[in-house]
Structure formats: C-alpha cells, structure tokens
C-alpha cells in the first residue's frame, strides 16, 4: 500500500505538470502567465513536501508574489492589437521541432535517472534517518512523532535558525553580500534599460526614418 507522503507528492507533481503544460500550450498570454503562477505555487508545495519550509515561502514570496506581478505588468505594457495572437508563419514546424527536442531531452534524462541506483541508499537509510531525525529534532517534532505520523516525523525539517547561522559563516556572508550587490546592480540596470530615455528614443526614431 503506498504511503501518504508518496501520494501527496504524486498529486502535487501531477497538478504542477498539468498547470505548466497548459501554460505552454495556451495561446492567450495572460492565461499562460496565470497558469505558470499556479505552477510556481505547486513547486512551492513540492518544497514544503520536501521539508524545506523557508525555501517554499521564499518561492511563494519571490515567484508567486513578485515575479508574477512583474510578468503581468510586462504583458500589459507590451500589449498589441488583436492580431497579436495570430500564429507566426513557421510556428507549426518550430513547435514540432521543439517537441522533438524536449521529448528527446526527457527521454535521455528519464533513462539516466531510472537506470541509476540512486534509490538504494535512501531505502537502506530509512530507519537510521528516522532515529537521527528524532534525535536531532526538538520537543515539538518529538511530540509530532506519534505512530500515526511516522512519515512526517521522519522528514528532516531544516529550521530557519540553522539557515541563518549558515549564512553568517564567512563563506555564507560573502555569498550573501555578493547576492545583494548583484540584486542592486540588476534592478538599477533594469530601471535604466526600461526607462524612457528621450534622447535615445529620438535617435532610434531618426535611424528608423532614414
């Protein structure tokens, strides 16, 4: 009998894949963007299933909250007439080639995954993992370790405190600072690129006219 954790994961995976596949095939770009937001929420649910709560909430904040808003604003700002959704001349051939490439990539990846003995250490270490998690967990996790919730108690939950301590180590702090600088530079660059540069717009207009 399959356990509840596996069924939960299968449901999350099927919902996410369905939303993303529908997003890829929809012709209306607003529908595509909203379905992709649903797919990102499903990926966050997958992180929650895997016991990485902090990453799941970061995913929800960054993707479902921020990136989706940026994408929707970009869609609205670049909206064209009703002929916008008409298929391009070579669209069918390109879609067929893309499906072929994606299918070949999926076949290669699935073959490599299914023939590799990745699952054996996990299956062998399932019992030690339960004891280790119970030893490392605090009183709340130990209280949750009732016989009905063995699978939940075996989840190695990574606590936010540990993440913060790891980020305050020298290597983690350096990576954090570099990421902060990268985000600042990227967002200022995005403003510069997207800002309405009057002189540059005039020049480009003259070039297009000449």
């Amino acid at each position: 009998m399959p356990d509840l954790s596996l069924l939960t994961f299968l449901a999350i995976a099927l919902a996410t894949l369905g939303a993303c596949a529908a997003a890829v095939t929809r012709r209306n770009i607003i529908h595509s963007a909203l379905l992709l937001v649903a797919g990102w929420a499903g990926i966050a649910a997958c992180y929650l299933w895997a016991g990485a709560e902090f990453v799941a909430f970061a995913q929800i904040l960054v993707y479902v909250g921020a990136v989706s808003m940026v994408v929707l604003f970009a869609v609205l700002l670049t909206r064209l007439g009703p002929g916008d959704t008409a298929p391009a001349p070579g669209a069918f051939r390109r879609a067929a080639a893309a499906l072929l490439a994606g299918g070949a990539c999926l076949g290669a990846l699935a073959g490599a995954i299914l023939t590799s003995p990745l699952g054996l250490p996990a299956a062998a270490a399932r019992a030690p993992a339960a004891t280790g998690a119970a030893a490392a967990a605090d009183a709340a996790a130990a209280a949750a370790g009732a016989p009905a919730a063995v699978a939940a108690a075996a989840e190695p939950a990574i606590r936010v405190r540990e993440i913060g301590l790891a980020l305050m180590e020298p290597a983690g702090a350096a990576a954090l600072l570099v990421t902060g600088v990268l985000l600042t530079v990227a967002l200022i660059g995005a403003i510069v690129i997207a800002s309405n540069d009057r002189r540059g717009a005039d020049n480009s207009g003259e070039e297009a006219a000449s």
């Binding site: 995976a13 963007a33 990926i43 990453v55 995913q59 391009a88 990539c105 990846l109 990227a186 995005a190």
Partner: protein
Amino acid sequence: MMNLFENTGTLHLALLFSSALFCLGLVAALARSNTILVLLGVELMLNAANINFIVFARHSAAVTAGGGAMTGVLFALFSIAVAAAEAAVGLALIIALHRHRRGIRLQDANELKG
C-alpha cells in the same frame, strides 16, 4: 520492468518530476515566439533545477541524518535570488524591445544577427 520499479524511490520520482518540468520549460523556450513566454520557459527550467537541489538536500539529510542538507537549501535560496534578478532584467529588456520595435516577437529582434 518489475526490477525497474523495485528500486524506484521518491528520489527517482522527484527527479523525474523535475526533468519533466525542465523539458516543458525547454519546449516553451523553443516553440513560442512571444519573448515573455520564452523568458517564462527559462524560469521554469531554473525552477526545475531548484527542485533538484531541494530533493537532493532531503535525500542527503535522510542518508547522513541531517549532515549535508544545508548546502542544497542555501544553493536553492541563492538560485531563487539570481533568478529574480534575471527576470527583472529580462522583462526590462522586453519593454525596451517593445518600445523600439513595436512588438515582442522574437523573430523581429534580429538587429544584432550576423
């Protein structure tokens, strides 16, 4: 076939899930001519890589009793930050492209093409 499924754990299933998401993103990036959808396909591929980080962190925590789980989580967090920066810059480029060319079809943006 029975032997194939006998050692198929949740790690295999999660890796297959992320592979399928990656290939969906690849198909979106290759097939669509709308630049926003191409960018969203790239984002989907990045998310599939993040799922691999998290799933391997969970697996390594299960094997080594919480020893190597932190690395995968930190990598996923930094990857999300970099992906957010990439999305902002990409959408700014799309807006600049729309301002210059009056359209966001990828085939029209061929000025730098050799």
